[in-house]
Structures are given as structure tokens and as C-alpha cells.
């Protein structure tokens, strides 16, 4: 078993006047339900964190759902070799940051 972690920080203002095509490439329809810059920045940071751990994941292979208590739920296209994972997103003024931790079988990435 191995532990892998990925994190990312991004400026919220970059999601203010962003093009629809770009948004659709990165996010699922369900993730665009609340298209405000803070939410989008947080989701982006979360996805980017995952991509840093698994190099060949594409944006649409990752889906993030918000549970009722606000905690983000991470869904991946394939959960091969992944024993467990957890995700945390945070915002402060101009930035959004996310950290994701994976527990994988050895040689899994």
C-alpha cells in the first residue's frame, strides 16, 4: 500500500469571465449547477490535485459532488488499485485550495 497526495491552489478571479467551452471541458453539467467563481475555483483545484496524482486522468474522469454537510465527494471513472481516498477544499478571499489523499495498491499509478 502507498499513500499519494496531490494539492493545488488557484486564483478565484480567473473563473469570473471564463468561456463556456472551457468550462464544459473541465466540469460536468452537475458540477456547473452553481457556476459562481468561488465554487468553480474550488472544484478546479480539487480536480487538478487528482490529476497530479494520476497523470493520465482527464477532467471528465473526475466528478465531485457536494454532500449535504458541505463535504465534497470524489467519484472517479475507474477505482482500479485505489483502496481509499479523501478530498478537502478551502477558500480564503482570493484563492481556492484543495488537497486529495489516495491510498493505493503498490505500483498503482
Amino acid at each position: 500500500m502507498e499513500v499519494k497526495v496531490g494539492c493545488d491552489i488557484v486564483e478565484i478571479k480567473r473563473f469570473i469571465k471564463i468561456e463556456e467551452e472551457t468550462l464544459n471541458k473541465i466540469f460536468h453539467k452537475t458540477e456547473l449547477k452553481n457556476p459562481n467563481p468561488e465554487t468553480l475555483a474550488g472544484l478546479f483545484a480539487a480536480k487538478e490535485s487528482c490529476k497530479k496524482v494520476f497523470n493520465n486522468l482527464s477532467w471528465h474522469d473526475i466528478e465531485i459532488k457536494k454532500k449535504r454537510n458541505g463535504k465534497p465527494d470524489l467519484i472517479l471513472k475507474t477505482e482500479k488499485n485505489i483502496i481509499s481516498h479523501d478530498l478537502s477544499i478551502s477558500h480564503d478571499r482570493d484563492y481556492a485550495i484543495a488537497t486529495v489523499v489516495f491510498l493505493i495498491k503498490r505500483g498503482g499509478t
Binding site: 463556456e20 467551452e21 468550462l23 471541458k25 473541465i26 452537475t30 471528465h60 471513472k77
Partner: protein, 799 residues
Amino acid sequence: MSKEGISSIQELIENFLLTNQDKILFAHKKGYRTYTINGKELFEKVQKTRVFLKNKNIESSDKIIILGTNSIEWITVYFACILSGIIVVPLDTLTDKLLLKKIQKQVKAKAIFQDRGLASIGFVPNKIKQFYLDELDNILKNVNIDTRANLPTTKTRPNDILEIIYTSGTTSNPKGVILTNENITAGVNAAISSISLKIRLRMLNLLPLSHIFGQIQGLFLLMHFNHKIFFLDSIQPRKIISFIKNKKINGVALVPGILSALKKELEGKSVLLNLGVQFRLIGVGGASLDTELERWWKRRLIIVIQGYGLTETASVVSVNKIGASKTGSVGKVYENLEIKLGKDNEILVKGKNVTPGYFNDQIKTKQAFEDGWFKTGDIGEIKNSYLYLKERKKDIIITPSGLNVYPKDIESTLNKIPVVEESSVLEKDKKIHAVLILKEKADISEVVKKANEKLLSHQKITGYSVWPYKDFPKTHTGKVKKHIILQEISKLKTKPHSYENKLYNVINNVLKSHQKINLKSKLSDLGMDSLRRVELISELEKEFDVEINEVKLNQFTKVSDIEEIMKESHIQKIKFKKWPISSISRLVRYVFQKLLVFPLLRIFTKTDYYGLENLRHIEKLKKPVIFASNHQSALDSPVIIKKLQLPIAIPADSNYVFGIGTEGPFILRLYKRLRGYLIALFFNAYPFGETIGTNTSLEFTGEMLDNGYSILIFPEAHRTTDGKIKAFKSGIGYLALNMQALIIPVKIKGLYEILTVRKTIPKFGKSKVIIGKPITPEKLKDLSYINATKLIEEKVKEL
């Protein structure tokens, strides 16, 4: 359809809805599907909306803000307000938080109906009820209406305000133009009097309904003549062109900016073939129309009607009538209004169509009128009773010696030079400054020299820059924002280069810089982080015909690699072919299948069908659906189709079946092409897959569904090699979420044993087809396409 005109907008709306009960009035293409509504349905929706508003205590003279793109829902709320005497405040979709706040402060609207997708609006003012246009159907579900008598049209007077339209941006305080019932009615009547199209046409309205042009010329005028009105949710030239061709559009209402983009797209191609022989008419207005542009279209025998007007004049001042149009002029003045040229030859207008003034702004209202005449701010001249626009008053450059220079004159001279794409002339540092967008790399000083040879001495260009981006900043109606251009070029320190390579331009656009790009640089060296890389892919896909997998483009990718990647990802742009769904093809197919295919099938297999009650249910709905089935053999399609009494279209791999994008010897490609034609004819197969790209595949699927054909798709993509159902490819998830059609799971058993893949002669045996219950949209609504695919796979396996 009287040529005399209408007596009120309310009457126009009522007549339109009640005399066209069964006719489709509006069609809106959203995503991949087209939504339609007939008079009866729309009338009911409008009445329900009126009751809904009443229940929310919104009454006559209250104000409602509508903020969204053209749609059937927009029209519904608009009509409902007009029939209830509620004042509409339609806002441009580019309105941002700040502007919305300022406007709401002025109008104090009771409710706002907006598009959910507008990300820029997070702000909802206090005390305003917020509703989403895309959810209108849901909102109206619980509203009951009995008979029309219960909710008569609210009586309004000619001087009552119908709407308040805001025209300027955030740079100054927003001005709300008051338009009364009388103003709008006069505007529509003026438009009606000059155009008489008596046949029912199919018209595409690309003008935003939030602007007066879109309302009068693109809506009310067309309604009076009972035309069928189409909306499209995109302004991309390619999408507009294929829409006009596929939907057999006869005419289009648009702004010069989009007309110019269409011309650019059609340069060197046949307009007749690409738009169809039925396309005859262009109605253009909202910004000044370049004479060369007008001539280009007229040379191709298309009627171009240019109109001139302002929001304050309910969009009407003058128009070129069909048959009496003069290129370069904005036409003759409409009857029932008067114009005259005032000081500095400014055009002044008087008539019932002219606004009483600006909302809650006595000062600005006073400034806009002079002795009862409205000051347009446009300079013009009248020759032989035709009006010519010279310039916007505020754009005129006054030379040190006091001479007036009209930038339009200089711009049209520059635009005639072949290498110039677009130009904008303004005053910079007290000099006449030209800003150019060039088609390709050129010596700009030579270009300016050429232009100056044709200009008078006081008009000569003495300063110039190349605009580093693709387009000039423009308003939604296409007017160039010169003050922003001035700001930008003042920031530029050195003369920016215009790169010959389109690729460098795209990269610089994304980086918002204009540096020289080194081929060996990695994307990360250029400052491209992952978000910028996604933007780069979007831009590359738009500029070139490619679909790039993001995995191929990462931070280590060098600029020199990009060209290679694009070559690999090149997709073939093909158009939707309608011949397989023509009556002749349908007949041939019917005969072929009934007389040859089905009898042959019966020789090899006896098929038992289960779940037919689900089929009856679907047939009753009369809407096309999508059948998703496992794939066992080459006999799958005919076996399934045999029992379905529905028109079916089958997506088939664009490369494997149709030979699109196939490399190899000519004879192989020819064979594949011919085979493709046969399969299209006999089974109504259409191209789908990587070599034509995801977008085109989905577009074609949407077209088939719009034409009433249900889709039969095999999500495994290939026939099973061991009898088991393999993982479904994610394409089905995309279809489920984007096609607005029910998904019906289907399972085949037994055909694998009868005709295993790689065998050519079928064995004899029994087979089964199980048709499952439709997967309701509720189950799919909140899923991502990954999970939607998984769900559908589950449902098929369960059968």
C-alpha cells in the same frame, strides 16, 4: 395579414397565438436538439405564466427583469407581461453584477427571470423574486387555468409603458429608454408598411430579443406575417450555416458583425450550396453596415435589407425596401415619421414611435430633445430622398485646423485593401490613428501608405497600430468600442508584431500577451498552467478543425509538438446528409427490408420478443427515443428493427463503415465509401465516431431525432468476442444527457451463437430480444456522464 397595420401589440400577440393553434410558431435549437411550440401550447403557457405572476402579487405597472438568451421561455414571459400590462425590463446577457445592481436601483423590479447558466450573475437584489427561465415548465406545472374567460387581457392605454430598455454600459450611468404601447405599435406599423412578404417564411432571428431591433424586426414584424421563427443558441458561423441549410431557413435577421463573420466563413465557397437554394433574405441593422459587405452578399443574389433606427425610435427611422434598395444608404424614411437634419447635419426624428424619454432621468431626457425633435447623435445626409449615415457625432475627429474627419470614410478606404481584415480609426494624441486587424503578416506602413494615397490631406492617417487580438471589442449588437481600443493601444510599448503563424496568435490570445514564441519552449515556460492549457485546447479546436485529447497536451509539451498533435487530431468536417431520410430512400429501404432482409432472417432464426408493452407505451408518446442494446452479431440491427414500428436511424462508425478519414489505397477508400452509401440507404445508418469528432457525431444524432427518427445504438461499440457484455463506452452517457430523449435498454440473446464475429455464415437457432422500461430523465438528471453510462449498462444487463 392586413397591410394597414396593427392597433396594439396585445392584439398582435393574441391574433398570432389564436390563429395558429396547430402551426409551429417558434423553434429553438439548444445544444443538439430543437424545441418547438405551436400556437395552442404557447397560448396556454402564456396564460399560465400570467396566473403565476398574479399569484405572486405582480400586477399591471409592476416591473419584471428578463435576462437571458433568445428562447421560447423568454418569449413566454415577455408575452405574459405584455398581456398583463406588466412593464418589461429586458437586459442584455452581457449585463454584469454591477450594472444589474444600478438598474435595479432605478426600476425596482418585483421579479427577475434569468437563464441559469449566466455565471456572471451571482447577485440577486433584495426584495426581488428570482426565477429561472430554463425551469419555466416546472414552475408552471402546478398552475391551473380553466377557460380563457378567466384571465382576459389587461386593458392598457397607448401611453402606458410597455418596456424600459437600457442602452449604455457600465462606463456611465445606465439610461433606461421608456417605450410605450404607442411607440412599439408605431414601430411595428412602420416596419410592416415597408415590407410585404406574403408567404409564410422560415426566419432565423439572431438578433437578441433584449434589444429593440430583435423585438420589432425579429419578432413582431415576423409575427404579423405569420412566419415561423427560429432561434439558435450560438453565433458561431459554422453552426449558423449548417442550421440554415438543415432547417431550410429562408431569411435571417442579424447584426453586421455576424454577417461579416458568415462571409468570412463562406469565402471561396458556394453560398448556394452551403446555405441552400431556399435562403434568399438578410435583414440587417443595429450597427453600421460596411458597403463592401453589403455588396458581397448582393452579388450572390441575396436580398439585403438594411434598416436604421435607435432604441429611442423603436428601431425605426429608415429602411431600404425590397426592390428599391440603394447600396450604401440606410434607405428611405418610414411613412408616419419625420426627420430633418439639424445643427452639424445631425439627424433629428419626430413621430409616434419616439420615446417620451429616459426613465427617472429628467436631465438626460431634456438633453436628448430639441424643440420636440429627438436628437439621434448620428450625422447624415439625404440624397434623392435616401438617407446616408456619415458618422456617430461622438466619433468625429476634429483636426487642429477645425476640419471634421469622419473615421468611417477612412475605415472604408482601409477595408478595401485586401490584406486588411477590419479597421478602426480614432483620435490618439491629437492624431488620426488607424488600428488594423490584418489577414496575414504584412508591412503595415505600406498598407497605411496605400490608404493615404486615396485620402484627402486632412484625412491622412498619421499614427497606426496592429491590433494584437482576433477581434475588436464590441457591444452585443456589434458596435465597436473605440474607447477600449484606445486604452489597449496606449498600453502597448512597442509596435507589436503580427505573426504569420495562426498558432502563435492563438497562444498569445490565451496568454493575453504578444511575445515572440520560441518553438522549443515548453508550455510551462510560456506561463501556461493547466487552466490555460484547457483554454488553449478550446481555442485550437475553434481555430483549426481538431479535437484534442487533453492528455496529449501537458506542461512538458513543446510548441513544436503542437502542430504534430493537431495533425493527428484532425477531424473531417462533413455535413449532415438528408438523402437517406427522403421519401424515395424510405420506400427503397422498406421494400428491401420487408422483402429481403426480414424473410432471410426468419430462415436462420426464430426470435421471441419480450417487453412489447413498453414498446406500445413509447409509440404512444410520439417522440423519438434512443434504444441502447448489447452487441452480439451483424444481425442485431435487423432483428431489433423488425419489431419496432418506428422510424430508426443507426449510428455507424465513420471510419470503419463509411470510410471517412481512412488512409490507404484509393480502391479501399472507394469500396468503403460505396459500402457506406449502401448501408445508409438500406438501414438508415449515419456516420458517428472519432474521425468526424464528438461534436459532429452528437449534431447528427440531434438532427436525426429532430427529424423524428429514433436511434438504435450499441454502446459496446464492437460485437462481443466471448458472449459477455463488455463495458459500455461513455458515448451513450453523452447521448443520455444531451439528447433530451428517453433511453430504452434492449437486450439480445442467442445471436452471438448464430453469427459469431468473424464468421460469415450464420447457423440456425433461436434468439430473444428483451425491450426494457424506459429510463426516466429523473434517474439521469443529476448524473455525470460516467455514471449515466454505468446506469444504462446496468439496466441492459439486468434485463
